[in-house]
């Protein structure tokens, strides 16, 4: 029991879930065949919005986190609308620029405390702990301390969010919007000829991705108590991208597997964490050369379903 409730493991679990949420955010944009390199930027908008709302305006965390997502989504429309009217790589370039600009702005604004970043952000774990002790669980239950209990609950909360997102994505692939996404990804010109409003659906996918990234940023702010501009630079974007590239971006399971593997990897291979970025770079090149569809694709799923003796419907 103590091993399971080790704060270090709980922490890693929390990070895996946060990264899985980010993986879903980039998956949604990739689902239309567009690459967004601004997810770290949206994450930072979410993180700073939520942190400032709770710190300076006295909002409750539960209200500030979704609001942060909406702010990120609103900003995404401004970037996405001009970039998504065009075919090709415009979104990638525009969002790459956007990510850098957001960083520069947060670095220079007074309210975000510049390069020092914001600290003392209300922590979800501590807030939950307070709520629990006011319910009379101040000494914990059955040998589990209050801190462990609230960490576990937070982890379950994050798992719940990831599960909801996965469910939504699975449902999406069977509805109008999801089918439009798939059509645009396969062939944008053909999709347009079929009467699909490609700009609308590309913007929708981009906006959903930005919203989720914003929420993930807000959650990470309330889990780590501190945010600074350095946390959300180009490397963060590449890190999010690589979840989808390693795991695969055709199915929602791909980025989640990618987030799981790549969050665990530096923890298991401590020696390798020095060379993390080099390894990431090599993974990106190798995956594109040898398995561009990622570890999980429709074929992999079908293969394992066959192995396990289940019929493909």
């Amino acid at each position: 029991m103590d091993i399971l409730l080790n704060p270090y493991y709980l922490q890693i679990g929390t990070f895996i879930m946060l990264n899985a949420i980010l993986g879903v955010s980039i998956y949604l944009t990739l689902a239309t065949g567009q690459l967004s390199l601004g997810n770290a930027g949206f994450m930072s908008i979410g993180a700073y919005t939520s942190a400032l709302l709770t710190l300076k305006a006295g909002f409750s965390v539960l209200l500030a986190v979704p609001l942060a997502g909406f702010v990120a989504a609103a900003v995404s429309v401004v970037i996405g609308f001009p970039a998504l009217r065009l075919k090709g790589l415009y979104l990638a370039i525009a969002t790459l620029g956007f990510g850098e600009v957001v960083r520069v702005i947060f670095l220079n604004l007074k309210i975000t405390n510049g390069a020092l970043g914001l600290s003392g952000i209300p922590s979800m774990t501590i807030l939950l702990g307070k709520t629990l002790s006011s319910l009379g669980l101040g000494s914990g239950i059955g040998g589990v301390t209050l801190q462990q209990l609230s960490s576990v609950l937070i982890l379950f909360f994050l798992i719940l969010i990831v599960a909801l997102l996965v469910f939504a994505c699975l449902r999406l692939s069977r509805c109008r919007a999801g089918r439009a996404f798939a059509a645009i990804k396969t062939d944008e010109t053909a999709a347009e000829a079929m009467g699909i409003n490609t700009t609308y659906y590309k913007l929708l996918a981009f906006l959903l991705g930005a919203f989720i990234a914003g929420v993930a940023g807000a959650l990470s702010a309330h889990l780590t108590f501190y945010i600074g501009p350095v946390d959300f630079d180009y490397h963060r974007t590449v890190e999010i991208l690589i979840f989808a590239v390693l795991g695969g971006s055709n199915l929602v399971w791909g980025p989640i597997l990618g987030a799981f593997l790549l969050t665990l990897l530096p923890e298991i291979l401590r020696a390798a964490s020095d060379y993390r970025m080099m390894i990431y770079g090599a993974i990106l090149v190798l995956m594109m050369a040898f398995r561009p569809q990622g570890l999980i694709s429709e074929e992999t799923l079908r293969f394992w379903k066959g192995k396990l003796g289940r019929e493909e419907k």
């Binding site: 990739l30 065949g33 690459l35 401004v78 970037i79 001009p82 970039a83 009217r85 065009l86 090709g88 790589l89 415009y90 990638a92 370039i93 525009a94 790459l96 620029g97 956007f98 850098e100 600009v101 520069v104 702005i105 670095l107 220079n108 180009y234 490397h235 590449v238 991208l241 590239v245 060379y275 970025m277 080099m278 990431y280 770079g281 090599a282 993974i283 990106l284 090149v285 995956m287 594109m288 050369a289 040898f290 561009p292």
Partner: protein, 296 residues
């Protein structure tokens, strides 16, 4: 003040033009955005720095050395990250693959530079005297003269080379259609390698020039310069060589003026503002034709 800032802007802009030319050449011929170009540029700057500091080379020799090393790096990049994808072309591989692959190369090179050269900013040794020439209302330093001369000289040579020589013609034919050029007897693989090494060599020289301009070389300079090159790529029109040359100058002047007359800490945001503005107003770029193939 105005004329002075204009000279400074043009000097800075001419280095942007050189970097953007690298993106444009590769975009034109291979139809991909080489995200690792900024890092090739950064390696060029470091090679120049090492040649000047440790080997006491003449600055022009250092530029040549930087160009050669960058060109080799470019060839390596093409071998490792682009050729394997090209061979697979047609088997349902998305157009994002080369983009992602070169992003991989870019972060690999950046962290390699951090390991090799250390994270600190290194100063370029003073290579030119502080002579300042006064022309009318403008003051121009010897370093600026050298930068302008090298950058504009290279651009002129490139223009002439593309327009008049046989290889230049082959390169333009490959840019128009790789398949057709191949059928007509152009060794397109050779042209592609040549283009990538040419683009990277220009990037390396630009690295030395930028090192001279700001008197600073650091591993992270690749990302910000790469972003500016991409901004110029969109500004001038994708794959448009005239657009890249002119767009670089526009960005340089715009940046210098924004620093001189306003927000100095937001100078890096100018490039992005330009991207968004141009996407709204004239998405094909300043010099781009409507069908985005013209002007090569």
């Amino acid at each position: 003040m105005f004329w002075q800032q204009l000279v400074n802007g043009l000097t800075l802009g001419s280095t942007y033009s050189l970097v953007a030319l690298g993106y444009t050449l590769i975009m034109g011929v291979l139809d991909i955005v080489n995200m690792a170009h900024g890092e090739v540029f950064m390696f060029g700057a470091f090679v120049g720095l090492i040649l000047v500091t440790n080997f006491h080379c003449n600055i022009f020799v250092a530029m040549l050395g930087a160009a050669i090393v960058s060109a080799l790096l470019g060839i390596l990049l093409e071998r490792v990250a682009l050729r394997p994808l090209r061979r697979k072309n047609g088997s349902g591989i998305s157009h994002l693959a080369p983009l992602i692959s070169t992003i991989g190369v870019s972060i690999f090179l950046e962290s390699l530079a951090l390991k090799l050269f250390g994270p600190q900013t290194q100063a370029f040794p003073q290579t030119f005297s502080n002579t300042i020439y006064t022309i009318g209302p403008m003051k121009i330093s010897l370093v600026q003269v050298v930068i302008l001369a090298v950058a504009f000289g290279l651009m002129l040579v490139l223009r002439f080379w593309l327009a008049r020589t046989k290889i230049g013609k082959a390169l333009r034919a490959t840019a128009e259609s790789t398949e057709t050029a191949g059928i007509l007897g152009v060794n397109t693989n050779l042209i592609i390698v040549l283009t990538v090494s040419l683009a990277s060599g220009l990037g390396g020289i630009a690295g030395v020039l930028v090192g001279l301009t700001f008197n600073a070389v650091e591993p992270t300079m690749g990302i910000s310069m790469g972003l500016k090159g991409l901004a110029v790529l969109i500004l001038g029109g994708m794959g448009n060589i005239t657009g890249a040359m002119f767009g670089g100058l526009v960005l340089g002047v715009a940046e210098v003026f924004s620093v001189a007359y306003g927000a100095s800490s937001y100078r890096d945001a100018v490039a992005f503002g330009m991207i968004i503005l141009i996407l709204f107003l004239r998405p094909q770029g300043l010099f781009g034709a409507k069908d985005q193939t013209g002007g090569r």
